[in-house]
Symmetry: C2
Subunit: 268 residues, 2 copies
Amino acid sequence: MNLKTEDYRVKAGKAVSLKSWKTDEKGSMDKEVGKVTATLLADELAEWQERLYAENKQALLIVLQARDAGGKDGTVKHVIGAFNPNGVRISNFKVPSEEELAHDFLWRIHTQTPRKGMVAVFNRSHYEDVLVTRVHNLIDHQTAQQRLEHIRNFESLLTDSGTRVLKFYLHISKEEQEERLQDRLDHPDKLWKFNAGDLEERALWDEYTSAYQDALTTSTEAAPWYVIPADHKWFRNLLISQIILDTLKDMNPQFPETDLNPAEIKIK
Amino acid sequence: MNLKTEDYRVKAGKAVSLKSWKTDEKGSMDKEVGKVTATLLADELAEWQERLYAENKQALLIVLQARDAGGKDGTVKHVIGAFNPNGVRISNFKVPSEEELAHDFLWRIHTQTPRKGMVAVFNRSHYEDVLVTRVHNLIDHQTAQQRLEHIRNFESLLTDSGTRVLKFYLHISKEEQEERLQDRLDHPDKLWKFNAGDLEERALWDEYTSAYQDALTTSTEAAPWYVIPADHKWFRNLLISQIILDTLKDMNPQFPETDLNPAEIKIK
């Protein structure tokens, strides 16, 4: 397998037109091969996560953003599920509380950033504050641009302090979203995931595209965005696993040095 | 398979003498059969957890306590690892901070209790405040008894509010602890888990036994303690999985009712 993960990375300072990014790619790979490969990656991910946890010096923040039914929950289940739960914390950002709204928009986000040794996953994130708010005209263009600048500064605080930041936009087609929403309607045990509001958001497809394109401009070397072709769940999982694994290897966490001389220690 | 989980439950109002509880039991089962059974249970656990999450009305709190190398981390990895990470939050309670110490001992614990739909796992817990503190004479017997009463009241607040509480004491023998600590010394990639302080705690084996016996008196119908024979990791995982599964089935979470009529909804 030779996944060119760089191809899915948004280059710093470059504008993105999402139309030109594929949603249905499979990396010229067979589904069965892809699934076996993902299983192998899962074992490697767990090993590198253990090193990160043991080293206790660096941290990893994974941001997941997508349209409704875009696959955030599935990514958590299948990719993050490979990790030892002891070293992972998932944060689901829902509608802000009164107290959260009484602070700046990054206040509630900051409390959920990972401590050293940990992997934090944001299932939705601070980016909602330039997406859903912008699309519904709760903030204007200028405020959105100002917030994006605050986000850049905030993420740079994190990366300067030993936390790597990986941001994934799960890119699905409008047809694929229709299929997935219909699937929820067709299965009684999936109906609870269906939200009538999702159809209103779907009607704003192009507005979201535009807001996402703005959000993707925060991609930097240290806190990159990846646009993940997400129509095929197995390929989405494989590609994200590979990117996280490459990142962990690049962080290169080491089991900590110790002053102990094991040979001298006698357990009574 | 027919695991009599009731046998491992501490009866409410009954004093416990840990000597009479086995550490090396295998439930008259073969290791290979046990491992396959655990895999099957993992799938069932994931299904019931999804219902709990979807229902969004009840919660589950799992407390893990053990001596050093007793298997708390292994239980999280192998048992809790079966769950969808989206519905789980692990809390590792370490030495309290200055701010935490400036409050009552349950203050930091309360913030980590699960919201509806979630499973919370306490890897160490409020019980440390009647264990390590008591053994090192940081508190006297009377204070310990008073704290146990506060713990009973606190857990009853949780159970009255829709949170089930399951408490597991992972019961290992002194010989098994020696083997596991030695194993950490013998393997460079496990050495980071070895803490010289563990030997000081080991020297207080009997004092810990006595403190644990006191702690186990907080077992009630709604918030039971289980003493898990934990010398055999596979049996420990299997038994805990079975108890959690039985508890989830007893809670009987249901996919939520909806006012939607799926047939009437048209996705455009």
